[in-house]
Amino acid sequence: MTAATATRLSATDSAPKTKARNRQRWASSRTYISAAIIVLWCLLPAYWMMVTAFRDVGYTFDATPFFTHVTMDNFVTAFSTDLGNHFGRALLNSLIIGIVSTVIALVVGVFAAYALARLNFRGKFLVLGFILGASMFPGVALVTPLFQLFTDLSWIGTYQALIIPDISFVLPLTVYTLTSFFREMPWELEEAARIDGCTQGQAFRKVIMPLAAPAVFTTAILAFISAWNEYLIASQLSNDATQTVTVAIASFAGAQPHQEPYTTVMAAGTIVTIPLVIMVLVFQRKIVAGLTAGAVK
């Protein structure tokens, strides 16, 4: 009698349990399926770029979704200057412009942020508001005045005409992010350092900077990406000698006048994207933290 009840109980008990487990399993596999769809959705264009970049030009419009007719020719064509393209030069330009503007923006930004975080002065919040307001200006609105300014200075076609706007575009965010970072560091740090006999300069160099290095580095990555990707200003204020990669890609000339050189552009696009892919792979966590830091606090 007791045994019978027990079996009956367990029988009625286990049915909903399996059902619940099944439902849970279905819910979790549904989540993973969705995750796969998201990855596909984000990846599809980039994947297609790679497939086309490595495909023989005669099979440009072949719809096979795998790597077929693999060749490196497109990469060679991308760097060739026969058709008036200067991709190699543009790559070097972008590298120079990206590095120089990142370094300057960071040096200038670190000092400004340190002073803003460590010192209360009248109008400080006006300064911060000014910086933030400036970060919201639409780039396209600034092209005309910058064009006029740089024409007057005869800077069109020089590196500084591209470097300086890159700096002023990333500076507001750099200063803002670093200020919120410095503000979180305890004030006692410098005090302790000075008690130990450091000068103010030494306290900053030897105590604050090493601690701030990760934040500075994260900001530098974001600044470099922003400079590397800048298109609008560069498309108007550069010439053949100072053209950046983003502009070079948009204006790639092919062998046929009215035919987009798809495979060559895809190869060039792959080359431009690779440094960014590596950066994200290596610094993903830092980038994620840096992007959300300012907004979350």
Binding site: W48, F137, V140, P145, F204, I249, Y262, V265, V280
Partner: protein, 319 residues
């Protein structure tokens, strides 16, 4: 980053209490904790302020003047712009092309930022709370990748995807020779911008969801709350300020983005001519720099209004 007001208020409060605490033993009335001194602090801030002032703020203000002239890209008016008063502004505000552009911009911001990026970003972030860590970082990686690919590369990828003849989409779905960019220009740039920009919303919501206390989720589950009720009553109150920050930032970015120009160039027949594209075509393709500057200034003003509304909401919420 746009929570400056909240930040400022909070740190002011903090500093005040610290000042009170320290008053006895050190001279920190002016809040100079690092012993920088006013002069040096000014010297530290000056280079950044100068760069921003000369190359960002001054050009923005300069559009006010340029908008009052007939400055052109080429010809006589390029070297000798003439003062024309507020003609450009009147023209802009009464021009049906401007009003059309404004309407399209509104649609673009609503569709791709407020709805597209926010909803998709939240959905992904929400989903990622239930998967293994490895899966989460893989998904994050690819979403992030879509965001940081240079715009001239990503638009080219989308051109190939949406191409009329032999485009990837037409091949995959057998939709023949549908000219997506010509038949559905607005839809195309909205989907494109959602694809590009979802990363920020996702990351922001991810970190916001991480801060929701799991015990509250558990107890609401035990109390029998469905997914929707849980979302509304437990999660939303925790992430409300993030939703606000996110909405305002992506609204501003989307409002200002020029990238769709590389996909549709505003066409066909101005059907995807959002404001930045309108300004670009007006000023640089058609050469009317003066008229373009007038519209630029209007656009900057709209930006400022959005930012002010945001700061206002934030302040009200805090007090």
């Amino acid at each position: 980053m746009s929570e400056i007001d909240a930040d400022a208020a909070a740190s002011q409060k903090l500093r005040k209490s610290e000042r009170v605490k320290r008053k006895g033993n050190r001279t920190s009335e002016d809040g100079d904790s690092a012993g920088l001194g006013k002069g040096r602090a000014a010297a530290f801030v000056a280079p950044a302020m100068l760069l921003i002032a000369i190359f960002l703020v001054f050009p923005a203000l300069w559009t006010l003047y340029l908008g009052l002239t007939n400055y052109r890209l080429t010809g006589f008016a390029a070297t000798h712009p003439r003062f024309v008063g507020i003609d450009n502004y009147v023209n802009a505000l009464t021009d049906s092309r401007f009003l059309n552009s404004l309407g399209l911009t509104l649609l673009f911001v609503l569709g791709s930022a407020v709805i597209g990026q926010s909803v998709l970003g939240f959905a992904i972030a929400w989903m990622m709370t239930r998967v293994r860590k490895g899966v989460k970082s893989v998904v994050e990686f690819f979403v992030l990748l879509a965001w940081i690919v240079p715009s001239s590369v990503s638009t080219f990828l989308w051109l190939a995807l949406l191409d009329r003849n032999n485009g990837t989409l037409n091949t995959l779905f057998g939709t023949g020779t549908t000219a997506w960019l010509l038949q559905f220009p607005m839809q195309s740039i909205i989907v494109f911008n959602t694809w590009v920009g979802t990363a920020f919303s996702m990351l922001l919501f991810s970190s916001a969801l991480g801060a929701v206390p799991p015990t509250q989720l558990e107890s609401s589950k035990i109390a029998g709350a469905g997914a929707w009720a849980q979302l509304r009553d437990v999660i939303f109150p925790h992430i409300r300020s993030h939703v606000l920050t996110n909405t305002i930032l992506i609204t501003l970015w989307t409002f200002n983005t020029f990238t769709p120009y590389l996909l549709t160039a505003g066409g066909p027949d101005h059907r995807s001519e959002i404001l930045p594209v309108y300004i670009y075509r007006l000023a640089l393709s058609e050469g009317s720099l003066g008229q373009g500057s007038a519209v630029s200034l209007i656009m900057i003003l709209i930006n400022l209004v959005i930012a002010l509304v945001y700061l206002r909401i934030l302040r009200e919420k805090k007090s």
